[in-house]
């Protein structure tokens, strides 16, 4: 890709704006699992009047926000091993039950980061496959295989300007054909049987700008 990293950083949605955009699409009452990083920001932007129930795979439904500094409990943490709180109505459970919720299709939505997403909805987000790297997968493979809807939230390109939305993933897969929708700084894109389907452009971004930064054909929004 062309070296337009600087430009890519100053146009399109910020991380917070991406999270805010995604939050609009989550229905009231959904059971939601948010991954580490940008996905966690989504919780800050849930529209007024909607209540979501957050699942963290280490054994808590009804996860609340971080505690005040100094008030954290080392035995009340999220999957990122950070201190959290438990909201009224929360429940604790063991790991096998937690992943029964995931694998059994009881969680409505999972939001994850990505290294690559293919036009077929394959996700790579756990390993670069580099020799000597310590492989660590955590719960990502179970989440993408079991949760009803899986959204990716990510910068459209890597820091080096390479597209993350690709024809086929070159990194080891987390799951095959598992992604439903992608929210980036530049656009909202669905995975369809035909490939990447543009749903919405970010403000001030045009189709060609996104297509140039996407590693496979982008289907334009149909004129209706």
């Amino acid at each position: 890709m062309t070296n337009q990293t600087d430009q890519a950083q100053i146009v399109g949605r910020t991380r917070e704006e991406m999270a805010k955009r995604l939050a609009q699409d989550i229905a009231n009452g959904s059971y939601v699992n948010l991954g580490i990083g940008i996905p966690e920001l989504v919780a800050k932007f849930v529209p007024d009047g909607r209540t979501l129930i957050y699942h963290t795979e280490n054994g808590l439904l009804g996860m609340g926000p971080s505690p005040e500094p100094g008030l954290g409990d080392p035995e009340l943490i999220n999957a990122g091993k950070r201190h959290v709180t438990a909201n009224p109505g929360a429940a604790f459970f063991h790991h096998a039950d937690s992943f029964a919720m995931i694998r059994g299709g009881h969680i409505d939505l999972c939001v994850l980061g990505a290294m690559q997403v293919s036009k077929d909805g394959d996700l790579a987000n756990w390993s670069t496959g580099a020799p000597g790297a310590i492989p660590a997968v955590g719960g990502a493979m179970d989440l993408v295989a079991g949760v009803k809807s899986v959204f990716v939230i990510t910068q459209h390109c890597t820091k080096q300007g390479e597209p993350k939305l690709v024809e086929s993933c070159t990194y080891p897969l987390t799951g095959r054909g598992v992604i439903d929708r992608i929210y980036t700084d530049l656009a909202v894109i669905d995975i369809t049987a035909e490939g990447f389907q543009l749903v919405e452009l970010s403000p001030s971004i045009d189709f060609d700008y996104v297509q140039q930064r996407t590693g496979a054909d982008l289907l334009p929004i149909a004129n209706t």
Partner: protein, 236 residues
Amino acid sequence: MIDKQVSSAAEAVGDVFDGAVVMVGGFGEAGSPIELIHALIDQGATNLTIVSNNTGSGQVGLAALLKAGRVSKIICSFPRTANSTVFPELYRSGKTELELVPQGTLAERIRAGGAGIPGFFTPAAVGTPLADGKECREFDGQEYLLERGLKADFALIKGQIADTHGNVIYNKTARNFGPPMAMAAKVAIVQANQVVDPGEIDPEIVVTPGIFVQRVVVIANPAFESELVAAGVSYP
């Protein structure tokens, strides 16, 4: 009379033998049975296969057991930690073998092992490198991988309150792998902040029924990994 209480962590892990498979509860520091792990380091058993979600932090607990050279293999979902170089060095030098398992598959393999189920099919990891060498089968148009149940000789678990019959309740997200590991181990050892008489835990709130627990030991004020690491402790 049934009394599963033993007097010390050292006694609790006294018969762990070389080559044993040992499940170790905990997700990060939550539920990590540090005192039992340290007793196991002192006890000296080696060539262990450890089943645990993580590989410990700093140079205490699980990381210290690894550093002491006692672990030949670890079955684990997330062996990378921000603040420990113990496992990466052992892995790169080939001294400790890693079997990487998706977290939910790990939990279900342990549960299945304890429930008398030798194998099961899961959709997790289909189409990924972790499917290599595993039987793949289609049910109702979707592909699944065959995964084996896991059993252990011992499990080291941290509870909050236990009774002398082995009934256990846990503290918040420290529960994590404790209940399934208690089921899957021949000898499940629970350290608890408090051990009480039978009847003092309401049967309605028992999380791990005593049938799954063989030994309980009081560790009244258990240490936390993060505090030990912050204090620069290296065990032993």
